[in-house]
Every structure is written in C-alpha cells, then in structure tokens.
Amino acid sequence: MRALIADDEEGPREQLAAALARLWPELQIVARSENGIDAWDDALALEPDICFLDIRMPGLTGLDVAQRLARLSEPPQLVFVTAYGDHALSAFEAGAIDYVLKPVDDARLAQTVARLRNRQSPTPVAAMQQLLQQLLPAVQRPPARPIQASLGREIKLIAPEEVIYFESDSRYTRVVFEGGEALIRTPLKELLATLDGAQFWQVHRSVLVNSRHIASALRVDENSMQLTLKGREERLPVSRQFQSLFKGQ
C-alpha cells in the first residue's frame, strides 16, 4: 500500500509519518505534501492508495482536495487529520469517515490502520461527496483576475473566460486563448486552485480546459481518451483518472 501525507506544518506531518512507520511498516509513504495544491498534484502524479489530509492547509484545504479526489475514476481512501475543535469533526463522526486527531495517538491510529487494512471495498464515494458538499462553505470566489502574460515587450491581460485551455510545459504554463497563446510562470497546479472548477475542467495532471470549448471526448482504446475542441485542430489527452468525467447520459 502507498500513502500520501499532507500537512502544512512540519511537526505534525512528520509525527504522523513516524507513527505510521511504527504501526504499519509495510505502508510506503510516497509523498509528504506541504500544502493543498501540492497534495492534489502529488496525488495525481503518484496515485497513492491512501491520502492523509490535514484540513487547514493553504492553497486548497483538505476538504477541497478530498472533493477533487473523490471525483476521480479510482479515488484513493481518504483519512482526515485535524486538531480537536474543528467544526468538521462531528460530521466525520456522523458520516463514519476516517479521521485522525493531532497530536497522533498510537492507540487511536492503530484502530484507523486496522480499518484501512481490512477494508475490502473502498469508502462509499457518494456518501463522501455528499458530506463534503455540506462541509465545504459556499465559496464566494473573488472575481477572477485577468491572467497577465508577457508577450515580448507587451503585457497582455487575458480574462479567464477567454482562455481555451492551460497546459503545463516544463517550467511554464502555456495559456491558449481566443486569438493566440502565451507562456506564464504561474504553475498550473496553483492556477487551478484559483479558477472556477465548474468552468475549467482538469482532464489531465497537466491540462485544464474551458468546458465551453470542448466539442467531444473520443475513446481511442481501452485506456486512453482524447478531447476535441470547437474550431481547433489539436486534441487534448484525458488521463485515466479523469475519464469518469465523460460517461454519456
């Protein structure tokens, strides 16, 4: 089994890692993420079986990350990590959602570990999504600011709704918009946390596409899928994790 631990503070993160190493030596900790954005990105890149998510993290909260993870084709098992006094605790209690209290107590963690080891079927995803829906506050996003891209000596302002898709390109993010394209320095994983998830769909770890511009999803073979765009030639890859976004009605 492979696990990801996400906590923005080093102490609690390492304490949980050490306790897991004691109680579950076979568990391989593949990522220690320092904020919600990294947790999401690391989870996509490494596909862990279990994610231990702190609730209060910068970038994306643990609940945000969980909501995204629960929508994947094969969601990992989720365990929330929080300090006593969090408003979500009673909801976890009621929804039979796994959680661990900080500072981690070996006896309590052992119970969680036993449950995770014996679990035949993964957590009912629908129940988890419903619970997260309740817990996540109706986020009032500040109006999305235009993206500033330098094109030579010019700084171009691109309104998010004009963007067709974003694509990670090694150290940059490529912004393809109506009437051109540009490179910006902000990593894709940070951009996606600030954009409206209903408008911009992540279809691949490195691709974020404006849903208004998607024409169709094509199944290429058993494992791969591609998107065609309205009025454009190029095709965008849909990774296996996101294929459940396109299932026909």
């Binding site: 923005d8 609690p12 904020n35």
Partner: protein, 363 residues
C-alpha cells in the same frame, strides 16, 4: 450599599424601629432608575375605594341622622389621600417618608377628632373613637407593609440585575479567554514530534509555549492589562507560531517605550494577532509577515497589527467572536475615545486600535 437585615443584625433588637419604623436602606436615584421603575398597581386604588364606598353606604342608615353624607364624603376623601400617600411611598420608599406620612396622618386624625368634638359634641367623639383609631392604625400598618414590600422588591430586582450583569461579564471573558484548541493541539503535535526525535527546536518552543500559557490563563481575571504585558503575550504566541511555521512566518514588534503602561482589555492585541496569523499567514501559500506597532500620532495612540498575507480583510471574513468582543471591551474601558478598524491592504490586512487623548475628546 448596606443590606437592611443581615443575619447578625437580626439577632439584636433594633430599638429605633419602635420610635421611627421603616426600612434602613435608601436607594440612590440611579438604583431607582435601574430597578424601581415598576408601575403602582392601580388595582389597589379600585379595591380600596370600592370597599370604602360600599361600607359607607351599608352603614349610611345606621349613622345618626345628618351624619350619613359627611361620613361618606369624608371616608372617600381620606381614602384618596391615603392612596396618594401610598403612591408617594411606592415612588420613594424611605424610612423618612414613611414617618412623615405617619405624623401627618396622626395630625389629620387629631384635627378630625377635634372637629368632631367641636361640631357634634363629646358624646359623638366617644362613639367614633374606637372605629377611627382602628382605621388609623390599619392605615399606618398598610403604609408600613407597603414600604417594606417595596424596598424588598427593589432589592431583589437589583440583585437579579447584578447577577445577570456578572454572568454576562463572565461569559464575555470566557469567550475571549478560550485558548483555541486548534492552536493548543497543533502546537503539541509539533512539540511531541520534536521531543520524539530530540530536535533542539523542542526546548525553545516549550519555553515560549509555557510563557504563553502562564500569561494567558490568568489574563482574563483582570479588567485591563498594561500594554507591556500584552506585548509579551503576543511575542510568546508569535514565537510558538514561528517555530511551527518556520520560514512561512516573519514578524516584528515595535512599541514606543512611553506606551508600556497604557491599559488595554486583556487579549485585545492577541486577538488581532491571532486573526492575522489565522486569516493572513496560514492560508497564504508562501506565508508572510506580521508587524505589530504601538506609537503616538498627534493626540491619539495607535496600536496596529498588519499582515501581508492572503488578505481577506472584510469584516465578515475575519470577524468571529473575536473582533466584536474586543470592540465591546475597548468601549467599556475607554468609551467613545477608542475605536477598532480593519483596513484592507494590498496585499493583506491592517487592524488598528485608536485611543484618543482625553482632553482632545472632551466636547
């Protein structure tokens, strides 16, 4: 303020009550305004007047001829006077007023006896004497009981209001006194890990954390705290957060030396700093910086907490219990001279307490 009958007083006989009876306690105008505003129960007026009227009519024909109408009129007039006096005692239920009323009543009674003897002769006086004495004594007793009842009513109301105020004050203090469990347990989590791994950071953090707890736990027993002490609490809080967040937090405290003795509601600055950490630094991907400043500007003292973090500065975003509570407690201490504002910065948030000099604010 002295209670009229504490248990020790009850054992001794208060001889002064034989000569001039009445309650010992006098209420100040403020106390009356606070607890003595109950209306005079009008039902008493109707009850007394109707009874006196009916009795006078019943005995109308029993009386010697020619006396019926004068007695009916006199008894109604006397009842009205007695009720007016009772209402006066209701408004100002003091021993002095009760005795004044009694003496005036006695004079009226004597005058009536004299008139009766003059106009109708000594025989008539003798016939009326027992009844009028009884009525007079009953009236005095009624006034006396009314005054005692009234004093106890006001006392009880005052006690009730005091208890309410005390429990509200306590609730307000407890609300601020809460050390956030989230802070407590996250700190313990770091501490435990560093102790487990014998990380040298544990020692410093434990020291700051102890200092923080020692200062915060008894903090709310005081109505106010000098700025110097408050800043020490703020510093130990920031040291703990610094140890936990590492490079994500930078901070500085700058306070003008002459302001060390300025008094503040305990925890006022700490609340602002907790908000700056919780809403500014922790949600920011790359952390940020907190500046705490105390300085004089013209005729006002300014206390500021500024962060350059995630910057949700709207009142609704960062106003939990904390800010409203701090504002209220500042007002208790300084009245209209103190204010608390939140100012949005680019990026971040500035929380500012302003306390105007007394002279400056006088109209």
């Amino acid at each position: 303020m002295s209670a009229p009958s504490t248990p020790t007083q009850a054992k001794e006989v208060d001889w002064s009550q034989w000569i001039c009876p009445g309650p010992r306690r006098r209420f100040s105008a403020a106390e009356m305004a606070r607890a003595g505003q109950q209306r005079w129960p009008k039902g008493i007026d109707y009850y007394v007047l109707s009874n006196v009227g009916v009795l006078a009519l019943v005995f109308f024909n029993e009386l010697p001829p020619g006396l019926g109408w004068p007695v009916l009129l006199a008894s109604l007039l006397l009842s009205l006077a007695a009720l007016a006096t009772a209402r006066w005692l209701w408004r100002v239920p003091t021993r002095r007023n009760l005795n004044q009323a009694s003496w005036v009543g006695a004079l009226v009674w004597l005058a009536m006896a004299y008139l009766l003897a003059k106009v109708y002769g000594k025989e008539m006086l003798k016939a009326f004497m027992p009844t009028s004495t009884t009525i007079f004594t009953l009236m005095l007793s009624a006034w006396w009981f009314l005054t005692l009842y009234r004093v106890q009513q006001i006392e009880a109301r005052l006690r009730e209001l005091d208890e309410q105020a005390a429990s509200q004050r306590l609730a307000r203090r407890l609300a601020t006194a809460q050390i956030q469990p989230h802070f407590l347990f996250n700190t313990l989590a770091s501490l435990q890990h560093w102790v487990d791994t014998q990380d040298p950071r544990a020692a410093g953090m434990l020291r700051s954390f102890t200092r923080y707890l020692r200062a915060t736990l008894p903090m709310f027993e005081h109505e106010s705290l000098p700025l110097g002490q408050e800043l020490q609490i703020v510093a130990s809080y920031l040291e703990v957060m610094q140890a936990r967040l590492g490079a994500r937090l930078a901070w500085q405290i700058e306070a003008a030396p002459e302001m060390q003795d300025l008094t503040l509601p305990p925890g006022a600055l700490l609340t602002l700093v907790e908000n700056a950490v919780g809403h500014g630094i922790e949600p920011a991907l790359r952390g940020g910086r907190i500046d705490v400043r105390a300085y004089r500007e013209g005729a006002a003292l300014r206390l500021e907490v500024q962060d350059d973090g995630a910057g949700l500065c709207a009142e609704t975003a960062s106003d939990g219990l904390g800010l409203a509570n701090t504002r209220e407690r500042l007002q208790q201490l300084y009245g209209a001279r103190a204010s608390l504002q939140l100012l949005a910065q680019q990026p971040g948030c500035l929380a500012r307490i302003t306390i105007h000099d007394e002279e400056e604010h006088r109209p």
